[in-house]
Symmetry: C2
Subunit: 331 residues, 2 copies
């Protein structure tokens, strides 16, 4: 393995100088920079990230915490996107990204989790799929020992940023689109919501309710708990008499659509997320497509900013409204 010493020798400078060049420190002359970079090129030197992360409290590593075991079947796809995005951005920023899963910390106190993260030189965490009732993880973020970027939870502080789409607005948009594009009476909407301990549920429900006031349609909200099965049951019971079924997640939208199909009723259904599975569920479905990979990337970049000293903030990501078609799945 070629080390920084080899480069230093080759360039005829001290190791510290090479390090400064690598990290773009000021107070290195143009000449030296060139000489060092040549040596780096010639020797195909790549700095050892493990050593860097050990010696530097700066170049910390960042953990992506996800919960692919979590409630929904869709989560595996979504979590993978988050991870891919973060790993990709981490690669570009020369930052080690380590994937961790909620299940690893099951039953642990905050302190222990903290120790475990410290023991991996983790300085920053990205948390995806956090619910209100996950106290240990929430505490972890709030104690601010780590720079945190939380996806879809309104946490914000000196060391904590949050990121995600504007769920309320997106819900309004997709629902409005669904209503206006369908010629039926559309004055009666069944909204099947996600679990109530989830922030996105609150927001999405709020969006739906606000729109119902604005447009003056009838809105029934039922708790589908993010469960396809539950959504199915609710739809079987109440779906027939409604004009439109709106769901707080794609998975529930699928459950609802299956139920409608079984009943031989053909109301439009809209979901939320934009998972691949949607393509397989039926016709006349729309959804809000979030770009989870982009979110993962941006979350990692935000980690860098926080580690660089920036204050926590709120980041809203774009989304798109889409008509679901099986043909799209076939690429």
């Amino acid at each position: 393995m070629v080390t920084i010493r080899d480069v230093a020798k080759r360039a005829g400078v001290a190791v510290s100088t090479v390090s400064k060049v690598i990290n773009n420190y000021p107070s290195v002359s143009e000449d030296t920079i060139i000489r060092v970079n040549e040596a780096i090129e010639e020797l195909h030197f790549i700095p050892n990230s493990v050593a860097a992360s050990l010696s530097s409290k700066q170049s910390g590593r960042v953990a992506v915490l996800t919960d692919p075991d979590g409630q929904t079947l869709a989560s595996s796809e979504i979590m993978m996107q988050y991870i891919m995005g973060a790993v990709k951005a981490g690669n570009e920023a020369r930052l080690d990204v380590v994937p961790l899963f909620f299940s690893m910390f099951a039953g642990m106190q905050v302190e222990e989790i903290e120790h475990r993260l410290e023991a991996q030189n983790i300085r920053s965490i990205i948390v995806c799929g956090l619910d209100r009732d996950m106290t240990a993880l929430t505490q972890l973020i709030e104690r601010e020992k780590f720079k945190s970027v939380v996806v879809d939870m309104p946490l914000e502080s000196e060391n904590t940023s949050n990121i995600g789409v504007d769920h309320a607005q997106a819900q309004k948009d997709i629902l409005r689109k669904t209503i206006t594009e369908n010629t039926g009476p559309s004055n009666s909407v069944l909204y099947i919501s996600g679990r109530t301990n989830s922030y996105v549920t609150e927001e999405r429900v709020r969006g739906a309710m606000e729109l119902s006031e604005e447009m003056g349609f009838d809105l029934t909200v039922m708790n589908g708990e993010f469960s396809e099965k539950k959504a199915r049951e609710i739809t079987l019971k109440l779906g027939r008499d409604k004009d439109i079924i709106a769901c707080g997640s794609d998975l529930m939208a699928i459950g609802a659509m299956k139920a409608l199909t079984d009943m031989n009723v053909f109301h439009p259904v809209c979901g939320f997320d934009g998972i691949t599975l949607m393509g397989y569920a039926g016709k006349n479905m729309t959804t809000v497509r979030q770009d989870f990979k982009d979110i993962g990337e941006e979350a990692l970049r935000e980690c860098c900013r926080l580690m660089g000293g920036d204050k926590g903030r709120s980041i809203r990501m774009p989304y798109t409204l889409m008509q679901v078609r099986y043909e799209d799945v076939l690429e």
Copy 2:
């Protein structure tokens, strides 16, 4: 952060002694072990894996190389399972697992990939989703600079193990089951295969052909390239006159089933993999369920063995035949 020095002080021994206790070295007295472990407990000491991996050529880190961008939509779920399994087992073995994606190495020569891995202190790699035409990655494995565990490729050497189910046997089993459980004539099977540059395709096709000889049914093999669309097209063209459609992957099975449904034909279809998506595709489908998470776990354990000095070998993992039902998806 509490370090090994703190523990040493507390236990009244040298750092080296603590290290020996942590790593279960011999030549430490029972007494000392107990004292040290008490100190570890009391201080809540967790060894820093970064430092360990820097100082020790032994405690290397292992990379999981996956390709979730890859051809199939299913891959995101499958790759996630591999990663989860590996991370879980890595956690237990106190080994850092770092996720990497094929796309990161696109267009690179082996040497560069090697350097990049070395620069992360990676000593062992798990490769999932490798195809015959990925020369750089194949070379990477064959140069044996790293201990490799390859999923579903028959690579084996001093430093290389392979792991996976017996694809030929599994294909025979699922096909036999599909044939015997369906009362129709069943003397004519359409087999839609995966891409030909893939080892699993060879094996699965071999299995189907062997069974066709053994049981004396008619077998037509078509190349579906692991594509749902292609499988759909093939089925539209040839499916009607067959009795059974067998596919080299679930995704293709779904494409085939959709095509049959569109044609109002109801032949049994069998796939391969056991992805969640199958539950949404239709009735009368069977598949071979692989436990990708288990494979990931076992792969990581094999990395440990290889790093411990064991020679490479071949590991066959169990699989199950299953009837696909939407109800199962609803758990």
